[in-house]
């Protein structure tokens, strides 16, 4: 005889709470970059002419291309979240992979840009900078390397984060449902079958008696095209928030370093 017992599973999620948490973290990032922006503005105010001259060394086209790359990656990020919100996991994957690739492309450009500059002997502490650059120009390049470098570190973190998200939104979610003592009493005397062939193998049948305190049932979900763990959406949204912040910081870095000639 088979007795069916119903049990409800509560899965708590707090969309707004998760977002507030992410925003609080973003505020610390904002203040971190805000600090170096203040440093930049004070030195630019004091050495306006030197900053002017030094900025000629930067490649405007390279900077503009990187801006377009980052803006586009922000678009694909937003589209990826939009696709997941519509339960279209396949499209979300395509856009998420595009975002990651664009982020890598940004870093590749950055590598060539920094590389060219270092080849020309322009890097903090180089002979050229110490001998023929004046104080303000040295400050400009010091700030250039530290600020675009700090931003670059954030891009790397973003790539790692988005790659982890790519795994998370595609992995098959497993859940453990726990039947607490009160509910477990209702099941007393029933048997729990373990494994597919439990009906033919008596050893796999466990009897629930008063020694049982807790019943844990592990359920394996399989993702289909339309159904998957919905709690992943908020995770992807929060990762997107981080990525957009990295974009906003670059939106300010680009004109402040490349376009002040």
């Amino acid at each position: 005889m088979t007795v069916t017992t119903e049990f409800a599973v509560e899965k708590h999620s707090d969309h707004t709470g998760a977002k507030i948490g992410m925003w609080l973290f973003l505020f610390t990032e904002l203040l971190l970059f805000g600090g170096v922006f203040i440093l930049y503005s004070v030195y630019r105010y004091k050495y306006a002419q030197d900053f002017h001259i030094a900025a000629f060394e930067l490649n405007k086209v390279m900077g503009a291309v990187n801006t377009i790359i980052l803006l586009t990656s922000s678009l694909t990020m937003a589209l990826s979240i939009g696709a997941l919100q519509r339960y279209n996991r396949k499209l979300a994957n395509i856009f998420l992979v595009s975002t990651i690739l664009l982020a890598v492309l940004f870093l590749v450009n950055k590598y060539f840009e920094w590389g060219a500059k270092i080849d020309h002997g322009i890097y903090p502490g180089s002979k050229l900078m110490e001998s023929s650059f004046n104080y303000g120009e040295n400050l400009f390049f010091g700030l250039y390397y530290s600020m675009t470098g700090l931003h670059g570190v954030h891009v790397i973190v973003g790539i790692v984060l988005l790659t982890v998200m790519l795994y998370i939104i595609n992995k098959e979610p497993g859940s453990v449902y726990v039947i607490e003592p009160k509910r477990a009493r209702e099941m007393e005397g029933s048997r729990i079958m373990l494994g597919k062939n439990a009906s033919t193998n008596p050893q796999d049948i466990a009897l629930i008696d008063d020694t049982v305190r807790r019943v844990e049932i592990s359920v394996r979900h399989y993702n289909t095209e339309k159904t998957f763990d919905r709690s992943n959406i908020i995770k992807l949204e929060n990762s997107g928030l981080y990525w957009h912040l990295v974009d906003i910081i670059w939106i300010f870095l680009f004109p402040l370093f490349y376009l002040i000639t």
Partner: protein
Amino acid sequence: MAHQEPEQHIVSYGTYVLVWLGLLVLTGLTVAVAGTDLGNFSVWMAILIAGIKSLLVLFIFMHIRYESQLFTVMILIVLFALVIFISLTFFDVSYR
């Protein structure tokens, strides 16, 4: 089985693409403006355009337009703190 999530505002793909186009146009504008000589004004122009671009990203890409007011208030508090830091720093630097 899981709690039903509160219904979320879903932004159309078209809106995102429009915002992206706007951002590209503004990038072109900031490059173009940098080419002309506006004197001291060019710094403020660059910051103004960057500010508009950030607002576009903030409101649409980062969904602030569709979230509760709480987020706007929190962001304003942080920006206010930054403005205090910047103004106090410049107050110090200018009158030293």
